[in-house]
Symmetry: C2
Subunit: 343 residues, 2 copies
DNA sequence: TTGAAAGCGATACCAA
DNA sequence: TTGGTATCGCTTTCAA
């Protein structure tokens, strides 16, 4: 079964391959008409023949000739991670609406892996990349830019990179409102557990916490514990034990996994919130509703994050140099875990 | 900045493009040597030059000429869904190890959407497809086969399709052991809530429940409630209310979303497990640990499911007609939600 | 072991 | 509005 080519369609329709190409690439205007320099009747005939013959464009040929591929890449740290999995879906749908197919890749917070994925994608002539940068990936991003591949940074900022669009959460604000909620409810000895990942989003969430504590006059209570993916379970256990002894009253947990880990540990140790600790978690999840006491948490606007990043990328692809940074606001979902303690 | 082509490398290395092509495509044998009909020294020189010049293969050109693309597609119903997001990650990694890049797509349980995704992928010359079939997609799958594109069915079976590899969970067994756990702990009035999706996996889980109940002599207690994604919240509430009145003792919940929904509703209604109902849930999640009482649940071997599907697909791509069906076993994770009721 | 040359199927340029 | 044709970069014969 031979593949139907543009030539077959041209022959059958009695026109040149040029016309067929025009018709097949024409966009439908707002008036419902095809936007291309082809006679409407001819165009209709070509479409009919193409359909009858079961013609499908060969993307490889188109890409070879045009240098574009109608596909974009999304590189997050882990597509199985709650936050990125949620966003990916919105990216996928939005990209499809622009006519782009999406390659997904997971970097595992690892520069080498990120570079190897980019290498593969280079070969595929991708038209643009949405990437959640990892520590130390600046040069990889710069190489993309040198190859004139449009880039959008998602979720994490790289201050040293210019000429990229960015779609970020107002992470500082997230840290602030979480801390403020705790302060408002009478907690003073508020601590934070974070990852030492060297990425802007966590850094900003920490900054938000710190500045809020400072402004409220509790600078001396500021304490940020740092852990890693590998040792989080163990570290969290230790942190909680110490906190019990030290009279810590509350924790701000700036990611889903940290929140889950703390909640698991509290369950294990038979601690309850807000009696033993008040907590504010991060990202949307059923766990916040299902915990013994509902847990207050920050919610990120996944849909906007995903869709905006596609929009900015497409804008760059279509007209080079259209750079923009979008910072979206977090929402604080209240919960029993951060209300005033019974005295 | 012009793109470096195979020609540039050839000129610089003083050899023909043919040789460069050979070298760039050579696989490294077990002995660490390149497996290609090229002098080892020449090959080394070519590799060196290619690296110096920063050569990157143009996948579009290669694909156009060879008809293959070194990329595969994975179409699940929703990449943001816990189960598929988890599996995707394993697929991605395994595919990379075989040298394949992966396109992901979400069908939303919708044949039309699945077909539209396949159309796009057709254009991209994909070498194979891993797909979680949806109700009524048989003809779409058959079209793939006619185009000689290798297919692996994942998670759900289509009895009427021949000549595909399949990677499935032993869903009937999952239904059986869940039900048996409840029976073993003294529950008799066990019911099930399921989706009316017309897919084999749910059907089999239901069959497992039914046959287990029957064999235990409680056929008259068999009851399966069916709901839909759109109305699950509302339906579950109703089902639970009715169950309270009717003296239902336990529920088997064959998906994560059903489990979560039931748990949310129970929390809302201030019901506890196993006192009000015993429950057995599905898929791995923190919610089962964090609920007031830990919840027993079925765990699927995500890693095996993902990796095996890539393996079977690659085997088919490499030697056409190598078909195999793999059925993996579920694991039952016990929990307080299904232990004997205090009397 | 090496090289020359013929396409793969589209797009894009130029001419009509 | 239409058509002819060079060309994108690679793989793949076939011949040397």
């Amino acid at each position: 079964m031979k593949r139907i080519t543009i030539r077959d369609v041209a022959r059958e329709a009695g026109v040149s391959v040029t016309l067929v190409s025009f018709v097949m690439n024409a966009k439908v205007g707002e008036d419902g008409k095809l936007q291309c320099p082809v006679n409407a009747e001819t165009a209709a005939r070509v479409q009919k023949v193409a359909k009858e013959l079961g013609y499908r464009r060969n993307a490889a040929a188109a890409s070879l000739r045009s240098g574009r591929s109608n596909s974009i890449a999304v590189i997050t740290t882990d597509i199985a991670n709650k936050f990125f999995a949620g966003i990916s879906r919105f990216i996928e749908d939005k990209a499809a609406s622009y006519g782009y197919t999406v390659f997904f890749g997971s970097s595992d917070e690892n520069v080498r892996k990120l570079e190897s994925i980019l290498d593969t994608l280079f070969a595929h002539n991708i038209d643009g990349v949405i990437v959640a940068p990892v520590e130390g990936c600046e040069s990889a991003i710069k190489r993309l830019q040198e190859a004139r591949i449009p880039v959008v940074l998602l979720d994490r900022d790289l201050k040293s990179i210019e000429n990229v669009s960015k779609v970020l959460l107002d992470d500082k604000e997230a840290g602030r409102i979480s801390t403020q909620l705790l302060l408002d409810n009478g907690y003073r000895r508020i601590e934070m557990i974070s990852y030492s990942l060297g990425i802007s989003s966590l850094k900003e969430r920490e900054d938000g916490y710190v500045s809020c504590m400072r402004e409220a006059g509790y600078a001396e209570n500021i304490k940020i514990h740092h852990t890693t993916y590998a040792s989080v379970a163990e570290d969290v256990r230790g942190i909680i034990r110490t906190a019990l002894d030290n009279g810590t009253e509350a924790f701000f947990l700036p990611t889903y996994s940290l929140s889950a880990q703390v909640m698991l540990e509290m369950k294990e140790m038979n601690l309850s919130t807000p009696d033993d600790f008040a907590i504010v978690g991060f990202d949307k999840s059923n766990i916040y509703k299902l915990f013994s006491t509902s847990v207050a948490h920050i919610q990120q606007p996944l849909k906007e994050l995903g869709e905006k990043s596609v929009e900015l990328l497409c804008r760059q692809i279509e007209s080079e140099g259209q750079i923009e940074t979008i910072v979206l606001k977090p929402t604080l979902v209240p919960g029993g875990s951060a209300i005033k303690q019974k005295i």
